[in-house]
Subunit: 370 residues, 2 copies
């Protein structure tokens, strides 16, 4: 049985999970396509240095490398598709009108698994809106992300909004901080360390700790500390996004949350699904740097939908129709056209129940197996 | 622009090809699922020695290898999914009733491209029927393969049947050959070298060269050389398969074709699509050897559908509906539910034509862009 062992973090998906995984990807990307996002499909591997140049440093350390005797160069398996979409948008699709709406979905592979995600191969899907990072653009991306999750079978969805550069904006305006203190205050806010903020002489930032939670209350608290209106644009944008989402998801605000949003510009968000540990996706605004040195604003999201598989996997026996020896082939074809899966007897040894069938074809009718 | 260069044989699929590739896989596997085949999804990479042990020797030389610091072992990217499905069938699904019907679809990666197929990453889809290799089983697999191709958008399909062990059967029966001559006669038949057969004293095998072509004529010629009925079972099986296929495909017979069928037992077939060079898929009967030494008969097919992409790719602008600023969001949602892709204006700079839209939403109606 040693041949059957798979490397750590890699696995076989069996029925019905494999079908559920495909159905989830399909449903989510269909929802995204409905909003005008066009599919792109970059390759599973690229030249290592090409991927590394575009990845966050943490991801670059996390590459599975491929020996390529053909090119005599090292390839790397993609740990993320977003960066490949950015490459496509700024090269082969550089001439296309903006905003450019692209979607993607497929496997990614990482060197290391994490405790929360023991898989090293996982599905990533998402959408990127390139050429805009306005509130309207961000609102669209948030809505599309939520619709994609809902189409994928996610129950109650929560979106947690954050303002990654909030401390910079406040420090440059109403709540002045010396540049040397900005990083320290950020860390104290990350830790929600009220005592530390007071000890650091940054008590002006204390209200930010309170300004986290359900959206309406949190944004009211945030507005209260924005006496001179330095945040007015940001607050209006958050309100616009929340209004556009409506009741499609629960909305929370954690204005100083930065973890994982180091590459986001003014907005970041995390997506959660009731009953699943950890976030299932994230997104936000960012800047794409092209190879020719041009910068473009963008906003996008990524979802890692595999944790939904168990919820979506149906019992395979639901609509499985046994076709006895000598059955009417036209009747069988008509049943398949109606959505049945048919299982034909090949010989007298084939048993309907053993083969997981729920019904048997009798003439042109599906009769439940008693 | 050097960052945009991809390794030889790897490529980005752009709109509308990427969407077409996904639609082809979806349609083909839906057709396969209709016949009771359950989806499995093995990982993109396995331990090298585990893959090598199950691959044909030619494929084993063709592996892209992955450095895995976690397992401290060499992994290989799968060049073929069939072997992984065999592993699953004989291990984790060994307890499931036979015949076991499994399907799969996803990317495979090869070290080297071929002239016919310049891609090193390509889509493979297929189905395996495990536990039977009877004529009924082979007929089902041939029909499912043809339906999958048709669902994927293939125009006129041809299936070319072959009997990989035909020379062995004849040599052991009506047309005796010394074991040492069997390989030579096979090669001469491969080359359709009539003069060589005569020179080798194997003129009894000359009629096999003629017994290739459209099914009805070819099988008649083959029957004519089977005076003592050594081939009776095979001929009856071919007739049964051809009858089951009916007019779903053109059927040809090339009884001595062996190229690429070295691992098939009594039946092999190639699939062709009008207008495409080379075969698009193949299949046949074979034997699975489990890790515990048990043998199981099986029959299956694989299709590499990427050449169909250009035929299927639709013009993306067909049903692309521009949503002007201030549009009715409920009307937009209703249009998406009807199958439209909507493209929302985010600001006054967004232009319907530049964004590839065919229609614009006016109230609740889609008005063609003049």
């Amino acid at each position: 049985m040693t041949h059957a062992l798979l490397p750590e973090g890699l696995r076989d998906r069996l029925p019905p999970e494999a079908e559920a995984a495909a159905a989830i990807l399909r449903a989510a990307l269909d929802a995204v396509a409905g909003h005008g996002y066009e599919r792109v499909a970059p390759p599973l591997a690229e030249f290592e240095e090409s991927l590394v140049g575009r990845l966050k440093s943490a991801s670059a350390r996390d590459l599975l490398r491929v020996v390529d005797p053909v090119s005599q160069r090292t390839l790397a398996l993609r740990p993320d598709i977003t960066t490949q979409v950015g490459r496509i948008a700024t090269t082969r699709m550089a001439h296309r009108a903006r905003p450019l709406r692209l979607s993607y979905g497929g496997p990614v592979m990482k060197l290391r698994a994490t405790q929360l995600r023991p898989e090293r191969e996982m599905t990533q899907l998402g959408a990127e809106l390139i050429g805009r990072d306005s509130a309207a653009a961000a609102a669209e991306i948030a809505v599309v992300a939520i619709e994609a999750l809902a189409a994928a079978g996610a129950p109650r969805i929560t979106i947690d909004l954050t303002l990654p550069d909030l401390v910079d904006v406040l420090a440059a305006g109403p709540l002045p901080l010396a540049p040397v203190d900005i990083a320290r205050v950020r860390c104290l806010l990350d830790a929600k360390d009220a005592g530390g903020l007071v000890a650091a002489g940054a008590h002006a930032y204390l209200p930010l700790i309170e300004a986290a939670g359900p959206f309406a209350e949190a944004v009211t608290r945030l507005r209260a500390i924005d006496a001179d209106g330095a945040l007015a644009t940001r607050l209006a944008a958050l309100e616009q996004i929340a209004a556009r989402i409506g009741d499609a998801a629960q909305i929370t605000l954690d204005p100083t949350e930065r973890h994982g949003f180091e590459y986001q510009s003014w907005l970041g968000f995390s997506l959660f699904v009731d009953g699943l540990a950890g976030e299932i996706g994230r997104g936000g605004t960012y800047t794409i740097l092209s190879d020719t040195g041009c910068e473009e604003p963008a906003v996008g999201f990524s979802i890692y939908p595999d944790p939904l598989i168990e919820r979506v996997a149906r019992t395979a026996a639901d609509h499985r129709l046994f076709l006895p020896l000598g059955h009417d082939q036209a009747a069988a074809e008509a049943m398949r056209a109606q959505g049945w899966s048919t299982v034909a007897a090949l010989d007298a040894r084939c048993d309907a129940r053993a083969l997981g069938c729920s019904h048997v074809l009798d003439g042109a009718a599906a009769v439940p197996l008693g």
